[in-house]
Symmetry: none
Subunit: 248 residues, 2 copies
């Protein structure tokens, strides 16, 4: 168990709590707004809320597990010997990353067969990416960490590339009022997703306080990729609903 | 209490947490989508969500009970002497398996008298199957385990056989767009239900890490039979609603 200073413990603990609150609030925002988009976009908004709901559950578990792994008395941090369960993040991603991709596909409103095809291909690649990342995350030595990182990057690059190309080609069919937002969504995908492989390599890069930095880095990436991206999905759904004559 | 390695403890614990998150997410998905199917199919979707909701509750209890049964300090697993309550699974199945069958019967939209008749017969057989399975599950010796397994297989085979035959004969009355999905649903029933009696026999078959394998096996079977099957029920309800001219 890595030893943390009081400051490191504090900032990691509070960032977990912050992320839980953000994810739960985002979930309620998406679901309470279901009635403000046309029926065709409600499945996308339902799934958007599922992603942040599942993340909220896992951040609550992470918060509890982290709190149990350390004892903080009079400002001194000691390890209790209880494990900080890193697997919660991976279990979360295994569920939420495929759903994130499905949420984006749903809001594009493609044909049924295209939707199923894209969801299967991208969802499968996402699951593969996460499964390949886990052995490296729990490995002690840096060589193993780097090896699994490299393998996991193959499906990662495939997904990001497909998304960006797919979004670009489908943009002409979208209403003018939504085009700008879809470009922003595509940019947010690239930026927020790039966070993960970079954060993953923090220990390899010999960054100071790497342990704390990884946890905070993943939390920030999760907030942008799930709650932030979800707000964009909601706005796209609103604009498209309005363009199709929907009145709430 | 069986002794577990740290790896076995970890994978079982995380698979319980994964299953809880999946069941809860599935529940919210079914209920939030009630408005996207015709009124005639909403009872089926309500029951589909009940099944995953009850399962989510039991997996949370299983997770807590499992966590209390073992102490994990510095990567060493020891039994605390607290019992891991196996009964949660059986109580869950006693409630959810009859509901699962009812959910399938409801989405077929049979006549009222047929619905009541089928639900009573199949629901009763399901309850009998679970009650007969329990004494074997908690028995220490393999002979007793096998004896109750065999008894429980009688109602099990009756149910699977009735479902497959029933689905096959009713398929002609279903709209074309839903026929393929109903065939898939029937296949998912056979495959996912077959998991249970096989997993049950793991200890008898002398499988390594049988204790952990049973827990993971049941979790996988539950996810497919409840959440996965539920998504198929939702899709069938959507297709049938569309075929009947329903617009959300």
């Amino acid at each position: 168990m890595d030893l943390l200073t009081f400051g490191e413990f504090s900032i990691v603990y509070n960032s977990f709590s912050f992320t839980f609150a953000t994810m739960m609030a985002a979930t309620l925002f998406f679901w309470l707004n279901l009635g403000s988009v046309a029926a065709a976009y409600r499945p996308a908004l339902v799934v958007t809320g599922l992603v942040t709901f599942i993340a909220a559950y896992h951040y609550l578990q992470i918060l509890i597990s982290f709190g149990n792994a350390y004892d903080v008395t009079n400002g001194v941090v000691t390890a209790t010997g209880k494990e900080f369960n890193v697997a919660y993040r991976y279990v979360d991603w295994l569920l939420t990353v495929p759903l994130l991709l499905i949420e984006l596909i749903l809001v594009m409103k493609l044909t049924q067969s295209e939707t199923v095809k894209k969801a299967t291909l991208l969802g499968g690649a996402a699951a593969l990416m996460i499964i390949l990342g886990y052995p490296g995350e729990i490995a002690g030595d840096m060589g193993t960490r780097q090896f699994w990182w490299a393998l996991s990057m193959i499906p990662f690059l495939y997904i990001v590339f497909s998304l960006v190309v797919g979004l670009k080609s489908s943009i002409t069919e979208q209403p003018d009022s939504a085009k700008g937002l879809i470009k922003i969504a595509s940019l947010v995908v690239i930026i927020s997703w790039s966070f993960y492989p970079i954060v993953y390599l923090f220990p390899n890069l010999g960054i100071e306080s790497a342990y704390a930095a990884v946890e905070i880095g993943y939390s920030v990436a999760d907030i942008i990729a799930k709650a932030g991206f979800g707000v964009l999905i909601y706005m796209i759904a609103r604009r498209k609903s309005e363009a199709e004559g929907f009145k709430a």
